[in-house]
Symmetry: C2
Subunit: 235 residues, 2 copies
Amino acid sequence: MTGTARSPRARYREQTRAEIKEIALRQLAEGGTAAVALTRIAKEVGLSGPALYRYFDSRDALLTDLIRDAYADLAAAVGRAADALVPDTGPRARLQALAAAVRAWAVAEPHRYLLIQGTPVPGYTAPPDTLDSARGVLGPFLPAFADGRPSAAVRPVAAQMTGWAERDAAVAEWVRRHVPAGAEGAALAGAVLAWSHLHGAIGLEVSGQFEGMGHEGATLLAAQIDSLADTFGLA
Amino acid sequence: MTGTARSPRARYREQTRAEIKEIALRQLAEGGTAAVALTRIAKEVGLSGPALYRYFDSRDALLTDLIRDAYADLAAAVGRAADALVPDTGPRARLQALAAAVRAWAVAEPHRYLLIQGTPVPGYTAPPDTLDSARGVLGPFLPAFADGRPSAAVRPVAAQMTGWAERDAAVAEWVRRHVPAGAEGAALAGAVLAWSHLHGAIGLEVSGQFEGMGHEGATLLAAQIDSLADTFGLA
DNA sequence: TCGCAACAGTTAGAGACTGTAACTCTTACG
DNA sequence: CGTAAGAGTTACAGTCTCTAACTGTTGCGA
């Protein structure tokens, strides 16, 4: 690996950065984004205030790093779930497994999920690599739709997605890494729809809007994913 | 109406509160929740700092008020859309119209939508009347599912919803106001699923995650709602 | 081996913000 | 018309981000 162990100084630096992030995550879990305060982190790590600016350009930079980490972590979780599937898993079961993996990650670390999905923090500091990160999460979903036959309801989406893949070479290349040629539109549409379903069901659950009702979460998401599989005629 | 004009003092008070909220909304639109600052509001309204605490107990109280207003506004928009439907509108068309109304409101005022759907602000200060507010938005969706036949995919959700309605009298009463008896489970399931679909598609669009792709938003939501109508066998 | 540049850390402080305390002026109303 | 409630004020304590200017340390090349 690159960057793991260079000079002793660089190693120490990485270690301190990691410690800062760890404390920031704890604060995030305890009080949301607003509770992440550099001064308090500094106190906890035994440094005095401005020293943290040696490690992060600003509070926003720290949060951005946290966001990137969360995306990577989620993508890894999804990837692990995909790898754990037995080879002859049907597309429907694959979909359910991947969706469950996303939800499990989100429920286990709600604050980190909210960090990803909520409005970033200040204005719209959408980092440019957000799209790539989303691709990392969504990639394993693509193959499930390779043999899908989109119903009339979602065919307009598939058409738009085909157009997108034709215009954007990077996207086309990404899709082609997961899916045989010819199925780009359907696969993309399926992935985006899956994303939207995940965002809806998990977002509601994680922001605690399912308090009164006998908590389902898993049931709701499973139902939506099952419907999605129906919509694409998956086996 | 009650509370419109009482004493001259009370009237002035209401006026000032309204002015404060107006400025707060502008700040919200310009820089997100973090940009709403009492001191700057005070400066703009011509008062000096702590005077605002005569009108709002705290910054959070102000934001909570903004959230309540946003919910009420959205519910009103949905209600208006429902009232505008011609009497013999089919359930599928009704669903599409209501969903489009929600999306239109959200796209017109993204910051207010994010205020509603995102993590409130600090921790989880979920106001107790959030559920009622959500009901106000969701109520008009219920009748669309009165004659619905949930598919196997969503039947587990309907079952859970039936159980919920049996346990929670307030919910049961609310549902019964919109839907004939016997259809509670299906109607509730449809409404919650619709909510989740809306949350997913609109949330992604409003947080700007659809940048690269040929912007759809409306297409995606329409497709999801159409699928939902399929799932419930709506005409 | 030594010198110095890059690095890690410090204190001091400016500026924005939330919220409290103590006080004064004004006005509605009994 | 006297007074209590309300609207507003200044002063201030405390938290936070971030900059400036300075000091101590370390590792690396000459």
